[in-house]
């Protein structure tokens, strides 16, 4: 049974292997226009999680993405060919790119061969994942506008990433990072959770 969204401007469907838990919201099926995941649960959106109009799930056949309870995906551009996870109560702003691979080899000859295969087949799978490295983002993480989260990055619970930052590597819990490349700014004081 194909799922559609009432009032959707785009004439598409939510793919069958996208799991939407109760109270979760997807604004438009266009967000799945580049979606090719064949994993049993390609996308899992938790209870009260929302994916607004700027989101794009550009996912390859082996891609799997999850976002937890009440996580807000305002404008996430996801490039995912392995695993990307975001915990509960996350805040992801406009034009944030989270990528688990570059979809291009560092070797120029390999890039040329890939572009020739793509032009011949017009198959997006020809833009093959290269060394996909999972990205893990904990609970209660806030990522500001226009950030890029690069392959292999781990962001722990409670961290904040300032607008336009480019993050690669490891961000510890409750740290504030900002800049391009992103650097440590300060540590937040961990309070009692107000989620409930």
């Amino acid at each position: 049974m194909s799922r559609t969204i009432s009032g959707d401007w785009h004439n598409g469907v939510i793919p069958d292997n996208v799991v939407m838990q109760p109270g979760c919201y997807v604004e438009t099926s266009y967000s799945f226009h580049l979606y090719r995941s064949r994993r049993p649960r390609g996308v899992v959106l938790g209870e009260g999680c929302s994916a607004y109009i700027g989101c794009m799930f550009d996912m390859g056949e082996q891609g799997a993405f999850s976002a937890g309870r009440c996580t807000l995906l305002n404008g996430l551009w996801l490039i995912c060919d392995s695993n990307v996870s975001i915990g509960d109560y996350g805040l992801i702003s406009w034009n944030v790119v989270i990528m688990d691979n570059y979809r291009a080899s560092r070797d120029a000859a390999a890039r040329r061969a890939m572009l020739q295969r793509f032009a011949a087949s017009r198959d997006p799978a020809a833009l093959a994942p290269v060394d996909a490295r999972p990205v893990s983002i904990g609970n209660n993480v806030w990522i500001g506008f226009d950030c890029c989260i690069l392959p292999g990055t781990v962001i722990e619970d409670g961290a904040v990433i300032g607008a336009r930052s480019v993050v690669s590597g490891h961000v510890p819990a409750y740290a504030v990072y900002a800049g391009n490349p992103a650097r440590f700014v300060r540590c937040l004081v961990k309070e009692e959770s107000r989620a409930d």
């Binding site: 890039r111 572009l115 833009l127 391009n180 490349p181």
Partner: protein, 194 residues
Amino acid sequence: MSESAANQPVWDGGSLPAGVVVGRGVVIRGTAALRRFRSQHADGLTVGESSTLDGVQLSVGPQGRISIGRFCCLTNAILMCDEQIKIGDYVLIGWNVVIADTDFHPLAPAQRVADALACSPIGKDRPRPSVECRPVHIGSNVYIGPNATILKGVRIGDGAWIEPGSVVTRDVAAGAHVGGNPAKPVAPQDGETV
């Protein structure tokens, strides 16, 4: 290069305007692609064989010229051109990349006031002050990651790798690997910069 065959739609937004010349197998997707194409040159936009422009927006002024080589793949990039943007062959450009060969507005404060007035709804017939433009040249085999910005006058050499989110304000040598704001050379491995 040849004009597109009439029976093969190159662009899903309609027929190509005058001044757009594309090679065999070119695909342009997205109705906004050429909405702001105003070049008066016969070669205002040339796209080489087998290149793909998916969701790309081209804003080209009357004197602007954009040339894109063969086997390029651009996804949701924005190219703003008042003079010249030249892109080689086998270039990969990621989502939300901005390439501009102009500053759009003058630097001097009084000139900016005049420009703001000329650009406003009440300043229709006022001439705009001149704005500095310098061509952007991007070589072949270049990779430009998502959210990167390439500013006016920049030359990027063949085979360079521009990290996602970079702001490129100066020339990049052939084969160089740069990242950051402003973009600088980074270690040849995936930067564990945090």
